[in-house]
């Protein structure tokens, strides 16, 4: 697709991109640390991925191939509009195949297909501060990060186990990056947390409204918080995908009628379709 004229490559002006790249470099140098940046107005509302778009716009080049997913799906409104946006303002190729993409912008999922070196995963982050529900003062949370004073987060986990018998956080499960910074993984399901650990791809996080960027460089240790006697357990629906039969992937529950009928399908559409295609080819 050819690019629309009248815009700089990738929509943002070069000075803004340079500012964001500086923040990204700092973020990569200090894994898990939130770096402030001058978030710009984007042609879509806050909460739709303004942070992720700005990060993508700053790292994308003409040779890149972009994939955008929203809750794992390539065909939902948010994914389609962001993909089309970059096709128009950067003229880059787009794809729905995880393996073929060099940059993957994601909202709330990590693809099932393992990522490889050289790929960049860009997360859209609504709230970068993992402690914000526990400590309302931003100045105090900054001090807690500076002093690595994270006892409070464990108090929250303790409370969950005391009340529910297990840690009742199913998404946005806090992680410790490189043994130093507590980080919000953005609202990905806890099921995806283990995929962040020592991932060969570069993981970048952009929060547009909160004006923060953070990063997990390739092969960085990312541990989900837990207790020795209550280890972290990724949660997954106890079912197989109704379309491809996968028992390993993360599933969405879909209501099929008004009589209690429901099926489970893969949340990652690319993963599900390629499995179906392989099964058809085998028949």
């Amino acid at each position: 697709m050819s690019a629309t004229t009248g815009y700089n490559f990738g929509y943002l002006d070069e000075d803004t991109k340079r500012m964001i790249r500086r923040a990204l470099l700092k973020a990569v140098a200090i894994p898990g640390h939130q770096v402030p940046f001058g978030s710009r107005e984007m042609p879509l509302p806050y909460g739709w991925g303004t942070g992720g778009i700005q990060v993508t716009a700053s790292v994308i080049g003409p040779a890149d191939r972009l994939k955008v997913i929203d809750q794992g799906a390539d065909d939902t409104t948010n994914a389609v509009s962001i993909r089309r946006f970059f096709a128009r303002v950067a003229g880059v190729e787009t794809t729905e195949r995880t393996a073929e993409a060099s940059i993957i912008q994601t909202r709330h999922r990590i693809p099932e297909t393992p990522l490889r070196e050289g790929q960049i995963l860009v997360y859209q982050v609504p709230m970068p501060e993992p402690l914000f529900r526990l400590e309302p003062r931003v100045a105090e949370t900054k001090r807690m990060h500076a002093l690595a004073d994270y006892g409070l987060m464990h108090v929250k986990l303790y409370e969950d186990i005391a009340r529910h018998g297990h840690v009742a956080i199913s998404y946005n499960y806090p992680v410790m990056v490189n043994g130093r910074y507590l980080m919000s993984p953005s609202p990905i399901p806890a099921f995806d947390n283990p995929k962040m650990h020592r991932n060969p791809a570069l993981q970048l996080f952009g929060a547009g409204r909160e004006k923060r960027i953070y990063a997990v460089p390739p092969y960085t240790e990312v541990r989900s918080l837990d207790f020795e006697d209550h280890p972290f357990e990724p949660v997954r629906a106890r079912a197989g995908c109704a379309l491809c039969g996968s028992r390993e992937s993360y599933l969405d529950e879909v209501v099929t009628d008004d009589a209690g009928g429901r099926i489970f399908v893969c949340s990652d559409t690319d993963y599900c379709q390629s499995r179906q295609a392989r099964q058809e080819a085998a028949e």
Partner: protein, 262 residues
């Protein structure tokens, strides 16, 4: 350099001065507290008691003077030279602070067990079972029914909240505890029970306590030594019985004479 242990003060302050504008809150205050000793600071409202406590515990930097703290290894450290991280660590391991209002010292949205476990988790405890065990033991020790381990502190009475705050503070076995009017705002029978509890814990654990109070009777019951403060100065200092039975300074005489007898 003296050997670590009983013959060196745990905390030593010299010539502390602090002004709030034109008002001298501290004016040349010096004091020392030894391991296992309970020292009460008494005086009327506005005499600088609470300010002194905040300066001694490093929460407020003084205008002049210095505070020396001896760590468990016996090395003396100047409080003002310690970093914020070291001071925080000190506050949740070797020191404790009991606030007058338990709401300032407790997390009201967190269960009793979580409140007690917070200091343990902040210092690296990562075993749920043992944290819970410690919390149960401490609830029993401060005479709260362990069955209420998962109840929120806001469902507790004032006296229970204060006892919970004490349990939460003592769980890491600090050597020095600062108490700011721990019995303030409680009715007399609850006060008596709390004083009894504090006295037993202090004796059991060999705690050093720096107690700020305007309640002369509480000071007599708990303290080994008393400092009387007025207008930011220590006007009289000595063994509790000596100061209260034979007050020398005119202000102390007034203070002792003002205590109501039932």
């Amino acid at each position: 350099m003296s050997a670590p242990g009983m013959n060196a003060p745990l905390l030593e302050a010299s010539d502390l001065a602090l002004r709030y504008g034109a008002v001298p809150a501290l004016d040349g205050v010096s004091l020392a507290i030894w391991p296992g000793e309970v020292v009460a600071i008494v005086g009327e409202s506005g005499s600088g008691k609470t300010t002194l406590l905040r300066v001694l515990s490093g929460l407020l930097p003084p205008d002049a003077g210095s505070v020396l703290y001896r760590d468990p290894e016996g090395t003396a450290q100047r409080l003002e030279a310690m970093g914020e991280a070291a001071l925080r660590r000190l506050h949740r391991t070797d020191w404790g602070f009991v606030h007058q209002n338990p709401r300032d010292g407790l997390r009201l949205g967190v269960s009793a067990g979580g409140n007690i476990g917070e200091r343990l988790m902040a210092t690296g405890a990562r075993h749920y079972g043992s944290i819970r065990e410690a919390a149960t033991a401490w609830l029993r020790r401060v005479e709260i029914d362990p069955a209420r381990i998962d109840a929120l502190p806001r469902t507790f009475s004032g006296g229970m909240q204060q006892r919970l705050q004490i349990a939460r503070t003592l769980v890491t076995h600090p050597r020095l505890v600062f108490m700011d009017e721990p019995t303030g705002g409680l009715d007399v029978s609850v006060q008596a029970r709390l004083l009894d509890l504090i006295r037993a814990l202090v004796a059991d654990l060999g705690l050093a306590v720096l107690l700020v109070t305007h309640d002369i009777a509480a000071a007599r019951l708990l303290a080994h030594r008393i400092l009387v403060m007025r207008h930011g100065r220590v006007v009289e200092e000595g063994l509790t019985d000596r100061v209260l039975d034979d007050p020398q300074h005119a202000y102390t005489q007034l203070l002792v004479a003002s205590v109501l007898a039932a």
